[in-house]
């Protein structure tokens, strides 16, 4: 069954495994630094907590013929501006060539999250003006927390996920794994980058598996708001389909406990 | 800063606040008297906005402390209620960082001594007056790592609670 043919049902989980949901708009060139700072200040009321990270690059020029003449330069490469809500669950990030809106768990639902992005995008544009968009993407990081049954019992990821790393039987049981897959999405003129890995579990007596879905279009990105929002809505449907294809009913039962 | 916003040492030490009790030469506080321990908000157990007790850690020594600081209640003159108020005000003068949400724990000296000795800690509870708090005492030889002792002090010895906010 193709993604387009998959039954798109709005699954409403009482405990969705989403740890972070991200909208990212990447520009073809960097925003002028003074303008970034203006944009950053513009979001102060919506995201009162602010942090600024100055990335420094140390460039070492080595002269093999005369090592003594080698020298190092420290350059201020770029500034990352990050703002968050008081409970730290809503983030806004500004890097030189991208505008990012992020939502940590608990996930409030698409309508709320998308609505926030639309408002923030509007606010961004009021100050930054038009910036040519190179890439638009939606990324959902999920963490499936699987309780380990009492006793020396093994967990089989394929009981919960349809994406995992399979190794020959002769190698015995796995301790951990990490995998990455890139799929083309012709209906989107975009790509799906899918990461999965065993991650340290934040819970006792659990094994946690990360399922990171990044759906994006790079090249030919829409420039008008209505097209941007339409693309994101399309991405949402695809992302939901992908997620449902990746999990089993056993996983679904964990999300409704 | 005291709870009413005054700098602790702006208030003068009241004349004649001492009850005038004579101590033995050793300066040890006799068993029949009481001492008061200050606990900041983070070491207080609060339920439904009411102080109901103290965490054992309210009685723990900090790494740079050589003794446990307490204030002798009966150093101060007056009826028991007045003595407590004087003791708290003396403490506030000596400690500029008294938090509004803090509280004071009061316990009997004899019980403190008995519980320490029962755990092989031969403590000395000595009157060591300070400029701003003439009732100040030091519990010397207090152990650093006795969770059981801290627990019994917090739960069964220092059982009288006075929220700081209740004393103007």
């Amino acid at each position: 069954m193709s993604l387009a043919e998959a039954a798109v049902t709005e699954q409403k989980y009482s405990r969705p495994p989403i740890t972070e949901a991200v909208f990212e708009v990447r520009f073809e060139s960097s925003i002028e630094p003074g303008l970034s700072e203006k944009v950053f200040r513009q979001f102060a009321s919506a995201y009162p907590q602010e942090e600024t990270l100055h990335n420094l690059g140390v460039h070492v020029n080595v002269n093999p013929a005369n090592v003594q003449a080698s020298h190092a330069q420290v350059q201020r490469d770029h500034v990352v501006y990050r703002r968050s809500s008081n409970d730290r669950s809503q983030l806004m990030l500004l890097v030189p060539n991208a505008f990012v809106v992020s939502q940590l768990a608990p996930y409030p639902g698409w309508e709320t999250f998308f609505g926030r992005f639309q408002n923030d995008w509007e606010r961004f544009k009021k100050v930054a003006g038009y910036q040519r968009i190179g890439r638009i993407g939606v990324r959902y990081l999920n963490r499936i927390d699987i309780p380990i049954p009492a006793g020396d019992v093994t967990i089989d990821p394929k009981d919960y996920l349809n994406i995992y790393v399979k190794t020959p039987e002769a190698l015995g049981q796995q301790v951990a794994y990490a995998g990455q897959v890139l799929h083309a999405l012709p209906e989107l003129h975009g790509n799906l980058l899918l990461n999965t890995a065993i991650v340290p579990s934040p819970l006792f007596d659990h094994i946690s598996i990360m399922l990171d879905l990044d759906v994006h279009r790079e090249g030919g990105a829409p420039q008008l708001d209505k097209d941007i929002f339409a693309l994101l809505t399309q991405i949402r449907t695809i992302k939901d389909d992908v997620f449902e294809h990746c999990i089993t009913d056993a996983a679904r039962s964990l999300f409704n406990r | 800063m005291t709870s009413d916003g005054q700098q602790a040492n702006e208030e003068q030490v009241p004349e004649g606040e001492a009850a005038g009790i004579m101590l033995p030469a050793s300066k040890e506080i006799p068993s029949e008297y009481s001492v008061m321990r200050y606990a900041g908000r983070n070491r207080i157990i609060i339920e439904d906005d009411k102080v109901v007790g103290f965490f054992p850690q309210a009685f723990a020594l900090r790494p740079d402390e050589e003794y446990l600081s307490v204030t002798w209640i009966e150093y101060f003159k007056g009826a028991p209620d007045e003595q407590r108020v004087r003791a708290i005000k003396a403490f506030r003068r000596s400690f500029p960082g008294v938090g509004k949400q803090s509280a004071y724990a009061i316990g009997n000296v004899g019980k403190v001594r008995d519980e320490c000795v029962a755990r092989s800690h031969r403590v000395r509870i000595l009157h060591e007056p300070e400029d701003e708090n003439k009732g100040h005492c030091a519990i010397r030889r207090f152990p650093r790592d006795d969770s059981d002792l801290l627990q019994v002090l917090s739960a069964d010895v220092f059982t009288e609670i006075i929220p700081n906010i209740s004393i103007p």
Binding site: D87, R88, L93, P106, T154, I198 | G97, S147
Partner: protein
């Protein structure tokens, strides 16, 4: 085969960390063709999510408090799907109260992240119906207490899933006291003689 072997948590954590590292010294030992393939795969590597991008910490108290609270709340967000919404909001309010600078004692440290992680993991595992009181030691360890009259149970959360506990309880008219330290996963067994479930329940 795809089954995961039942190894201890720390063994699995080290394996996960090793998988996250880029291959070292690879360029010296493989062919150019293979290296090109490796570099292509590395290029696919997904960037850090916004929540993982951390900023530099300052040394001034208010900056340290800010950073500590931010880290604690971010970790709480990561497990919020396992927390009751009302409790999560109350927890954040309690955390803010514990870091009220107007109540701050000189020499105190803000919440220690490893202690907070042990606390939250334990809280989720115990799932108390009766909410505890929270406090903090001067070195930033989270404290938790339940009080019933003159009885009380207190927990101090240390790093590495370790918990220091004290209990005072009246049993058959006699006062019993105990104190100890254990790993959080054994708390239920360790405190079984003191009816841990009764402390966590709203019934008594």
């Amino acid at each position: 085969m795809s089954t995961l072997s039942p190894v201890p948590t720390d063994v699995r954590s080290r394996a996960v960390a090793a998988l996250a590292q880029p291959p070292a010294l690879l360029e010296r030992v493989i062919s150019a063709d293979t290296l090109r393939g490796v570099n292509k795969a590395q290029a696919l590597k997904t960037s850090e999510p916004p929540s993982a991008i951390s900023t530099q910490s300052g040394t001034a108290l208010d900056q340290r408090v800010f950073d500590a609270l931010a880290n604690a709340k971010t970790f709480a967000a990561m497990v919020s799907m396992h927390l009751d919404k009302a409790w999560r909001e109350k927890l954040f309010n309690q955390l803010d109260d514990l870091h009220d600078l107007s109540e701050w004692e000189t020499g105190d440290e803000p919440v220690e992240q490893k202690s907070f992680i042990t606390f939250l993991k334990t809280f989720i595992a115990l799932d108390p119906r009766r909410r505890p009181s929270l406090g903090m030691t001067h070195d930033g360890h989270i404290l938790m207490a339940w009080v019933r009259g003159s009885d009380r149970l207190t927990l101090e959360f240390l790093e590495n899933d370790s918990v220091r506990w004290t209990v005072t309880m009246t049993i058959d008219g006699n006062k019993e006291r105990a104190a100890g330290q254990t790993v959080a996963t054994r708390l239920t067994q360790t405190l079984a003689p003191y009816s841990l479930q009764d402390w966590l329940s709203n019934d008594k």
